[in-house]
Symmetry: C2
Subunit: 511 residues, 2 copies
């Protein structure tokens, strides 16, 4: 059986664009090929509660008619209504005629407005029996012990740094048990804070890997299920995978929201330097605007490091010192601030004035503010709400500080992009004289490890201390994580990279 795996990137609700993309792939396939598209390829997804509006099914149905006009054979995902309920469906189209539909049974949080369907379907295509359906329903199919020549399994699987191998490893024993050739077709591309994993793959009936498509990005691959061969993986390293996910996440967030340019506040520190370098790679240097906003608490090297970066990247940049604004703010608040000790309120004012300046630049230039917060500071609340936690999307918000240093070094592998001093100097928020992150936080080498145990491995304080960490430090870190939950509820969303992304994988009560 001749098959094309079409690992595509759809746009939610843009039926015209999605149909044109699908038709483009179909035009490359001969009449005897079945082209397999991912879950919801016609409508884009995740659709969430868009499913509850009748125009989504109507649009999908009209789009499917246009696809049928091509007269080709394909399997393609779309929402389908039966007049009462809407199902996450997979249409089997043979030479332009719809013959069968599989509906998703085991729904995920993305499917919250879909009704529960029937799971895998089995259909006859020429001399082959084909079982087709959704990833979440494959286990049920295997449990039933049904037979087929080929299983076609579509997915909507989101990138996490270890996801690809986890998915393959999860499928292998199921495929072995079923004893059927297995084609897994996943979508790719970014959608809001999600980047879809791509990495479609083929296993033979013994569960041996016979093909794999590229991670995260579009690709179409033709194959014959009768002549499968063993395939050797050549996986990217962790930092390369994260880099690629951020690239596609930024690129598609801007493209799908119809914005070309990014604004970034450049402090001279490592976080904003890395984000600016990532943005230049994703959007082009002509589309990145840097804004330096030193205060009286900024050190000399901050401005120099930020200027070095802007020059290395060849990006447009502005220097807007915030001292006059800060003085004006303190004067306005004098009635309330008089005779109080300088503290958090004053520090936050600087961060909020910078947000106001950055959003002013973004609004005036039709750009989008890229957020530069990292996961370590989001975890412990080391940031100012409506200040440095703001922006359209966070580029590195799912990376711990130590991972940020690693990526910065990796980006400098062919020559200095990020100034060495931004990588090596001690981190500081520079909101008061001589301030260092370590005044309030443990060393990142310790902090990041405690956070990983707590956030990813879901260890309680007792378990973390038993793993060898200091009692007081652990207690302090966990208290900070808990106390700042409310802040994370209003932070800028960030591109998901891990299995413990705030706001997605770890939902906690506010109080």
């Amino acid at each position: 059986m001749k098959v094309a795996i079409a690992q595509t990137n759809s746009k939610i609700g843009d039926f015209n664009a999605n149909v044109e993309k699908i038709k483009g792939v179909l035009s490359q396939a001969n009449a005897d090929v079945i082209t397999i598209f991912p879950e919801l390829a016609v409508s884009g997804g995740p659709l969430l509660d868009m499913v509850s509006y009748n125009d989504v099914c109507k649009g999908a149905s009209q789009a499917a008619e246009r696809l049928c006009e091509e007269g080709k054979s394909c399997i393609v995902g779309m929402p389908v209504s039966d007049g009462v309920n809407v199902f996450n469906s997979l249409a089997f189209i043979v030479k332009g005629k719809p013959t069968d539909v599989a509906t998703k049974k085991n729904l995920t949080c993305f499917d919250r407005s879909f009704a529960c369907g029937n799971g895998f379907e089995i259909t006859q295509y020429e001399d082959k029996t084909i079982a087709f359906g959704f990833e979440t329903d494959f286990e049920d199919f295997v449990a039933k012990g049904q037979k087929a020549d080929v299983v076609i399994c579509v997915a909507n699987s989101v990138f996490e740094v270890n996801k690809q191998q986890q998915t393959i490893n999860r499928m292998i024993p199921l495929v072995r048990k079923a004893g059927i050739k297995f084609i897994y077709v996943n979508r790719c591309g970014g959608e809001g804070r999600f980047v879809f994993n791509g990495g479609s793959f083929v296993l033979n009936e013994k569960g041996i890997l016979c093909d794999e498509l590229s991670l995260l990005d579009e690709q179409t691959k033709f194959l014959d299920t009768e002549t499968l061969k063993t395939f050797t993986q050549n996986p990217l390293c962790k930092i390369e995978k994260m880099y690629k996910a951020i690239q596609i996440g930024i690129r598609d967030y801007f493209a799908k929201n119809g914005v070309a340019k990014a604004v970034i506040g450049l402090s001279g520190g490592i976080d904003s330097a890395l984000v600016a370098a990532l943005a230049v790679d994703a959007l082009g240097k002509e589309n990145v605007i840097g804004v330096l906003m030193p205060s009286e608490f900024s050190t000399d090297h901050s401005v120099k490091d930020a200027l070095d970066l802007a020059n290395n990247l060849c990006i447009k940049h502005y220097l807007i010192p915030i001292k006059p604004l800060y003085d004006s703010a303190l004067q306005s608040l004098d009635e309330i601030f008089a005779n109080t000790q300088r503290g958090l309120a004053e520090e936050n004012i600087q961060a909020r004035l910078r947000c106001m300046v950055l959003m002013g630049v973004a609004n005036k230039t039709g750009s989008l503010l890229l957020n530069t917060s990292n996961k370590s500071e989001a975890a412990v609340g080391y940031g100012t709400l409506y200040g440095d936690t703001s922006g359209g999307i966070g580029a590195i918000g799912d990376m711990f500080k130590e991972e940020i240093w690693q990526m910065a070094r990796w980006m400098n592998r062919n020559g200095v992009v990020i100034p060495e001093n931004s990588i090596t100097k001690e981190p500081s928020a520079e909101l008061s004289y001589g301030q260092k992150d370590t005044d309030s936080l443990p060393d990142y080498a310790v902090l990041d490890k405690i956070l990983a145990l707590h956030l990813e491995s879901r260890m309680s304080k007792e378990q973390i201390v038993a793993a060898g960490y200091d009692d007081k430090t652990t207690e302090k870190v966990l208290q900070m994580v808990k106390r700042n939950e409310w802040k994370r509820h209003q932070c800028c969303p960030c591109i998901k990279l891990s299995s413990s992304t705030f706001g997605i994988d770890r939902l906690m009560p506010i109080s």
Copy 2:
């Protein structure tokens, strides 16, 4: 059978406080009474991913031991681990000895980290057969056709303005079918943006209402299942219900986050006036701070109306004109703003400077900023991110503008609290000279109806136009709703009042 319905308000993770509360109720009950507490009364809830940490079950188990020491009989909700999985459980304790446990089977989004349990349990208590379990599992119990003398059904049901009657109406046919007396025990009180509905009730075996506890707040009621009588409801009107929910929402949000004082920006408009009046009722006038921040675009009556309000409410207030700050901001941005037309960027700057001032006051005084945005403006994005969309919790963010006017009039029923001019004047953001909301938006009388059809009834444009609304107006409103989804992802959470709360009931893709 003698029963006490204990409609309690727990605090998440505060086992000591919850145990003391439960013991206090038990101490009022005689030895022959079974006291019924709501879902997760021991731990508080919703627990979300707190369930994945081992200290939650440990804390709950120790708390349950302390309850057993009382030697009383009760049914009480708590998380229980079997060493591998954690179940949302309901323990049946007879004279201080745990005898049975029901585990929740049909899980909700609140239960995302619980494992799927077994549903209703049936147990013998003296001469009675008691079926007990969770609201979501009751339908399955009825379908099985099992018999018992009494059904005890606990819940975790969140307030929506029509929820109480909907729940009773949903239960009546099920209870009739089962032909068993039915006791429904719901929790109450606020938790983050949720307010739990209370309104526990009793139906006899014919599905006739025999008792009902108060909406939203704590109450304990003793009854004998052998002597049930018909009960006549005396329901609150819609605005009274919303008022009570906001009261309890504000009260518990502050109390459970350990903050006493609220800061509110007073513009002289209806939204901030209503929120200030609600805050004074919920927290006391000594705990509310008003901040007036007029600009050059503010009208004279704005300041007068805001001062009248502050005087009516007897709250502390500050007057901080933002013109010096605004001038300073424009000067800082001159390089970028020079030779451009004054527009959205300049308007947003004012809103963001006000946010900076309000957060400065909140940070310095240890207060929490109460957000004053309404649902109509959140829907169409008529607000400034990191400006007027900021705050710890939104008091009226789930109310359409027309509902806000209704509530303001209702609050003035015994004399003027909210200045008449704030209610009757035409709404304006006052971010440019002579600006009116209707410059950018349809009249609220039309806007709110289109929004209700789109957000609550899930009507598409075609259906709304078919219902008699203008094509262009509908198109414009729906486009605004769609285009501003990203903004709502970072808005301050608001107290849930309706069945179409943003961020809870209606989740849409960002792009």
